[in-house]
Amino acid sequence: MLKNLASLWRHRALVGVLVSRELKARYRGSVLGFFWSLLNPLLMLAVYSVVFAFIFPGRSASTSPYALFLFTGLLPWNWLAGGLTDAASSLTTHGALLKKILFPAEVLPLVAVAAQGIHFILALPVLGAGLALGAAGVLGPAVPVGWPLVQAVPLFFLEGVFVAGVGLLLAALTVHFRDVKDILATGLSLWFFATPVLYALPDIRSERLRAALLWNPATPFFEAWRDAFFRAVWVAPERWGILVLISFGAFLLGYAFFDRLRDSFPEAV
């Protein structure tokens, strides 16, 4: 496993070129090109702003302005969901490649996760604009904005490691069980509601439900994103510890599973 991790490191250039290929290919042929990565979240923010300002106003104080609250949760969620979906099908869609060219197979799911990560980063200017508007009080009650924003950097890294780990596991499973893709679609929507994206964890009144939601490995990430982007508070060291544990635990588990099944991929895809 360590030897394979080392070989993966040697192939980092490959991950780089494949991610850039993925991004280039996605918008090739469209008029606006990369601008879509910016435009999509912008439109999303605009829609939520209108909906929650005029159609469903009056949320709890801890989540308003709700459009901005939702946006700070949806961006990292889209990365997680998109990354896992793409990673799960990465080996099967590029199966021909695995049969013909010798390279570490884990490159493919990692590229899928990284490409979705780039989309997340490309959407950050929109978030920045939203935060500026929120701080000015345009979207509703003024939100605090400050230094805790820098926590986004380690959070980005940790979520990447977490998504990569789960993505590797799913990719390996999908090779042998094509149903994973279908289960994943439903599973992700269930997971979406079990993760504090639409709501803030402290707003859950039932003590038991709140405790149950804490068992969701994604929960600490989204609470931390909210702290960084929305509440502008510092995440406590023990919570960082938990995040590191979850993300690296997921990665090692996913990688070990992937590594065990590695030899079966070229034949089974």
């Binding site: 070129v17 021909a96 060219i101 094509r178 089974a268």
Partner: protein
Amino acid sequence: MSAPAAVVAEGLSKSYRKWGRTRAFGTLKSALLGRGFGAALAPSETVQALSDVSFTVARGETFGVVGPNGCGKSTLLKLVAGLFKPTAGTIAVTGKVSALIELGAGFHPEISGRENVVINGVMLGLTRKEIERKLPEIVAFSGLEEFIDEPVKTYSSGMYVRLGFAVAVHVDPDVLVVDEVLAVGDEAFAHRCLDTIADFSRRGKTIFFVSHSLALIEELCDRVLYLDHGKTKALGDPRETLAKYRMDVANEEGARLAREHKEEEKIFLEEIPPSPVPVEKPRRWGSREVEITGCRMLDVSGAERYAFRSGESVTFEIAVAPRAPLSDFVFGIGIFTPEDVCVHGTNTELDGFLPSRLDGPAVARVTLPACDLGTGTYLVDVAVHSRREAPYDYWRGACRFQVDSPDRSAGVYRPVRRWAFEGPIALERK
């Protein structure tokens, strides 16, 4: 073989899981409900693609692999390229392997040729710097300067392959694995590929070569491995190995033709009216005053056979039964190419026989002591008719046979040749 080995295979075996009814990898649901997760991943039924194959390829050697489809050639290539792991045995490859298994594998249709070259190069193990340095050379080799910045989805299949080949050879491997790639692309490109491969060989690189073109294998390879059903049938000198392979193919073909012939006999018991005939499909007509009850081909020993080497003795046997005794009959045979060109046609009348009586079931045989035909498939017409050519029973394409010629001379006729030269000229036997 003093040169150090580039590829060493010992007792190499490879089996695949079968995707039959008891699907080894079913669905997740079946795994969870059925025999459990571990059992779902364990092979239940396997197909042996390669069994106990051993060989050594010296550095700088060009090593060919031949065999019928499904003999394990592709599996062997994938093992050499490191894509698959052997089920048993070991394979050790020294140096960098570049596999021309499918050219342009991994090209993304939406992005430009140039970007694809970079990605493909990195995938094949070059660093970004190396590939960028070699880029102009690769583009020049492919001859696609004008199109290199267009997305590859606009390329023709030939352009695609040219670009793929250009990248693969510029990776500068120690061992080049070539699978049937020369079958694609135009003549000029095929020549360039061959030149490149020859150049590789001159530079002391090892080439692992798989092709159905036996002529190409014979020309390029130092040694040849003949695989059949995953087992080594022969290994060594290209001439001998290929001769053995050719003979096996001819026999196999003969067995198949004999089986087909039996089937045909069953089908064409009914009289079919004469019609403009497409060849291959036997047609039969005539008054049936004499009926052809069978038609076989025999070799020199009298055994039934439908595959012959050029120059062998070939006998055609026609069995007939008259409805009533008669004295006016002629036996005829004709040999045709599938394009319906008459190679030879004769009958007892032309060959100077005068019929006197045919009272019951009888057999006529005609032998060609040296059947000097070129490589190919031939169809045989047999007929019994009256001396005024009123057909009793005329059977088009009653048999088919295969001829295999050891040399590569052209045409349906392959006579024995003797060359002589005069004047200031010198030639040597190869």
